[in-house]
């Protein structure tokens, strides 16, 4: 699925995350998190799983996380992808 425009979802509230999806070459994931040291690899794995599930490509995914749980990460990313035209 091709990303067509910029899309965002979520907030910077505690236990939430803000996801920004925009068109780019390849697939780039950038993560900022208040728990980056401990959990960056788990957040990345979860994001990659969701991206793979939808076959997303040609996107930069910028994530600002404040300690969100898995299901929030999944929901915010899917919403941002949908707004970016990458999901039908």
């Amino acid at each position: 699925m091709k990303i067509q425009r910029k899309g965002q979802a979520g907030t910077m509230q505690s236990s939430d995350l803000m996801v920004i999806v925009e068109p780019a070459d390849g697939l780039v994931i950038e993560i900022e998190s208040t728990v980056k040291k401990q959990f960056e690899h788990l957040i990345r794995a979860r994001l990659e799983q969701v991206l793979a599930k939808h076959g997303a490509e040609g996107a930069r995914i910028s994530v600002n996380d404040r300690g969100a749980l898995d299901y929030a990460i999944e929901a915010r990313l899917e919403t941002a992808l949908r707004r970016a035209g990458g999901l039908s």
């Binding site: 910029k6 965002q8 907030t11 910077m12 509230q13 505690s14 803000m18 920004i20 925009e22 950038e30 900022e32 998190s33 208040t34 910028s62 600002n64 996380d65 404040r66």
Partner: protein, 271 residues
Amino acid sequence: MIADLIAPADIDAARTLIEACGLAFQPGYDDLVGVHEQGSLVAVGARAGRVLKMLAIAPAQRGGPLLGEIVSALVARGIEAGFDALFVFTKPAYAAAFEALNFTLLAAREQAVLLEFGNGLKHWLAAHSDGQHPGRNGALMIDGLTFSASHRRLIESAAGRVDHLYLFATAEDCRQQMADGVRDLINVVVLDLAQYRIDTASFPTYFLKVSDPVEKIRTELDATLFATRIAPFFGIARYFTGTADDAAARAIQAQGIAVCAISTPPPGDSQ
């Protein structure tokens, strides 16, 4: 819930809250939003282009979710307006509150800090990585609206003293003329600092007192941003300037970059 503050009564309430937090109400913004609780305004914040400003939370509500709520709304609108990164200029005491929201501290001085949301600087540097050259390099800022013959002599003189010379024009018109004017100088690179040059127009003063030396604070913050974030990326070890003893030069020197006074050589003396 976030509300746009548009009615005069709402704007007055915003001004009162902002002033109660020791800040000044500074007109000139794209968005002014707030959160009400039981009929009264408890949080407020504004966005002017890529700059968030006048963020104020009622004392009784601090430490809660309100700052995150206001900043989320303003960042979302800024991104929608096409900015990939957003700035906050504020008092050093508030830096930690924004860092907790994943803002990155770009520059800090005694009276002002600059934080960024998003990886704007990282992306800017990556986009200019083809301008990276090894060696002992120098930097020269060119002020003024036109590129003149004396600029050219100044550049030649500075370029002869370093491996590569990075030129920064402060005005867009001048930048193009400069790029054309130095095309034949192989060790000169022209760069545009874009939003990473803090100029008078982009620097908000809402967190400063009227009696503060605003221009000095802005200049030092700008010089610190340059010396700590931009210069190391390009291997800049020398900073050429005509006025080696001003606030900018001192701030740059404090970061370990040699400040070299330079004056325009007379015509015919450029070799």
